[in-house]
Assembly symmetry: C2
Homo-oligomer: 462 residues x 2
């Protein structure tokens, strides 16, 4: 691409300031208290797409938060790229662990980001990565180098399961028609080890409630004589893994894709230091399913984790009470071929079956999605690989991610097109955690790399 | 006692109003936000003792909340009764489950209290029961029928372990010198089935913290590859009971007092309907240690219950996070001969020993106390039994309680005197729960019965 480096040089400060403004809006979709901020963010995204050169931009209403759609169609005969991203963010708590306020972006240096990183909720997931595409489009339009048609679909409910996006996609197949889908909502191995995500895990997220007595009880008068919902919940959750950390839900593994020794050997080639991994997390030892390596456990194997648990007295001091109810939020990461709705049903059936007499159990599905795999012989993957090579000077490594972007599988099903996951974040960027950040280097590198994807994809499509 | 019924008749409305005023002050000792209210309550108790006829009343400073001390010494040669009670209350949460605000007392009828009950936090535990003694003293002084000396010691830290009371007792043995200690902070079987508590369980209350990774992590990227502190905590807590609901802590049962078949048969005579018990709690089945009845499980057997648990995301919606830390508050009810400090050490040692690699465990003792037994051949018990017979028209049943009043064992050790537990509450009074209440009948019956205890105790002491 002509002048990409000089254009970046000239506008980099403005690009960063624009992103900072976007990050200041607390668009937390999980918490209705932030409703107006989420809507404000959609408005800001719409304006940015117009400024970047889209011919037509609209805010599409849904039953939940709106979807910002934008397009620039230059020639019906050229291929069309659909860019997907999300403008909503994860909740910021626990706030006390942030070294600077989550919605007051600041730039600080880190070991992985010696050139500095933008610290803010959503910096990496996904406002920062989504905005790279907006700025890449700006470059291509302003310098008349846009080689194909482009459509943007930026949603506001990714962190809560994209329920309404699914409906939107199903009912707008013509509008969203495309040849390839491009998403930057994943990571790469390191700033000098580029990688492209070729697989995603599915997800089933449920909330469970265990109810014992109809009211909180005095633990002295009733302790030991009635089922304590918290003790029962811990027993039920503990029983979901056996001594080898296999998940005990009947049928859970039935459809799990088993990789060949060759595939596993190929995976094992990705640079990885267990020592650094443990050091970075300050843990003495890793933990997980017997018979699999750390990188296998968090990518090609399904998992079950409690994401939150609460019940009884959790305030200051001591209260000798037996709670009437105990709750937990539990998520399962699924691998290709596991159907999330089937797994959710298996979980509910099993969890209800293991409840002892004396308690009532309620399982409420939150959301979920299927796993996904991109074949590396797809021209979209090849175009992406060439783009990274052009800007990083080395071929990217194809990599399975442990994360989930539930709608990717849906895109394939409804829009009949593959998705290319060009992620520029790092594992150490603390997404979903306090002090989330996104490298300034990564932000600029993304803006620089994306136009090359357009270029090579257009060429390979001829 | 002459005129007790007529005196009650004449002043019952005022007695109730005075109690209501006391209940309006939210004296929650566990939450420092209520500090001024706790101190205000001490002041109110002081004034009430002066009005009731104490010659000397003082607010004794401690390192925590003060102890209100009052006395009326009529004759050094007469026996001295020490009345103990507490003016602090349990936290009121969960507030949303109260049918009326916890600190705006109202009188409502219930199945167990057809004459109405006072609904407020502390109504039964222990402001209402403590205040019966103040009003009983008022009657005896105003009608010149006080048959012996009396001392009051009303503390403000019972709900948080009476740490400073212990120091106070140890350093004021002469001031607190007495022949018998009288406490109303327990219950009776029913309004037409009077009973006296002859045993209390000990208590060990600890807080545990499990720390995994040094920060919250994305459950997709790390799930299944690192120890999830919440999953680990559930496994650790679950393992504290075996399949028979025996506690698995090594040495936990070593010193447990084992009752004879005769004693257990005697206990079994107390009227009890398992059907009504389950109905009252809306549970399908009871639950507990194999080989013991419900009444044995909550009185003569030690127990372990989680009183609170928390970790991860507990807000609205879903967050796919692996928490860095998980916490629980755990209390153990102990029986005579189990030493709470020894049990606390055994718990900590065991809990730390079962932590898997990859997590750090911290156990913090909150507070505790020893169990206690009153022999029924003690003249204090006999005087109490005669007092109930005089006012209820039937002999009370001696009963072991599952609750704990840690300082009772300390009183015996430091002051060398026995404690008589004349409790007038009912199990259904929901102490420590939303909608705590105390029967108006019980309040008046207590005021009527207590003077008889003084009378018979003085006579039996001759």
């Amino acid at each position: 691409m002509k002048n990409i480096k000089s254009y970046l040089q000239e506008h980099q400060e403005r690009f960063l300031n624009e992103l900072v403004e976007l990050l200041k809006i607390p668009s937390i979709s999980a918490d209705s208290a932030y409703k107006n901020d989420v809507l404000k963010t959609a408005e800001a995204v719409k304006i940015s797409l117009e400024k970047a050169g889209c011919d037509h931009v609209e805010i599409c209403k849904t039953e939940g938060y709106p979807i910002v759609y934008g397009e620039k169609i230059i020639d019906k005969n050229l291929p069309t790229i659909l860019v997907y991203g999300h403008y909503d963010v994860q909740p910021a708590d626990p706030l006390e662990l942030w070294t600077s306020p989550p919605f007051e972006p600041v730039i600080k240096k880190t070991d992985s980001h010696p050139q500095g990183a933008i610290f803010a909720r959503g910096a990496c997931d996904d406002k920062g990565q989504m905005y790279m595409h907006v700025k890449a489009l700006e470059f291509m339009t302003k310098t008349n180098q846009l080689p194909c048609n482009v459509k943007f679909m930026i949603e506001g409910e990714e962190e809560v399961g994209s329920v309404n996006l699914s409906k939107f996609v199903k009912s707008n197949q013509e509008k969203l028609k495309n040849d390839i889908i491009l998403i930057s909502d994943t990571g790469m191995i390191a700033n000098d080890v580029p990688s492209i995500t070729t697989g995603l895990r599915g997800l089933s997220y449920v909330e469970v409630e265990v109810t014992g007595p109809n009211r909180d009880l005095h633990s002295g008068l009733y302790g030991g004589a009635v089922a304590n919902p918290i003790n029962v919940l811990t027993k039920m959750i503990a029983s979901l893994h056996d001594e080898n950390n296999h998940i005990t839900i009947p049928g859970f593994y039935d459809k799990v894709e088993n990789l060949t020794q060759e595939e596993r050997a190929e995976m094992a080639k990705a640079p990885f230091s267990l020592e650094n991994y443990k050091k970075a997390l300050d843990i003495e030892s890793v933990y997980g399913e017997a018979g699999y390596t750390t990188n296998e456990r968090n990518s090609i194997r399904p998992t079950l984790d409690v994401n939150g648990i609460w019940g009884g007295y959790i305030g200051e001091g001591a209260k000798t009470v037996i709670a009437s109810k105990a709750h937990a939020k539990i998520s399962m990461r699924l691998v290709p071929h596991q159907d999330w709705e089937e797994i959710t049903k298996l979980f509910a059936k099993h969890f209800e079956s293991i409840a002892p007499k004396g308690v009532k159990v309620k399982v409420t599905p939150h959301h979920g999605g299927q796993g996904y795999v991109t074949p590396i012989d797809n021209i979209g993957y090849q175009a992406a690989s060439m783009a990274y090579e052009a800007t990083f000077g080395k071929k990217p490594i194809p990599q399975r991610s442990g994360g989930s972007i539930p709608i990717v599988a849906l895109f394939e099903q409804e829009l009949k097109s593959k998705t290319i996951l060009m992620g520029f974040g790092l594992d150490s960027d603390a997404i979903h955690s306090p002090n989330e950040h996104f490298g300034v280097f990564n932000f600029y590198k993304g803006i620089e790399t994306i136009p090359y994807f357009y270029k090579y994809y257009a060429e390979l499509s001829k």
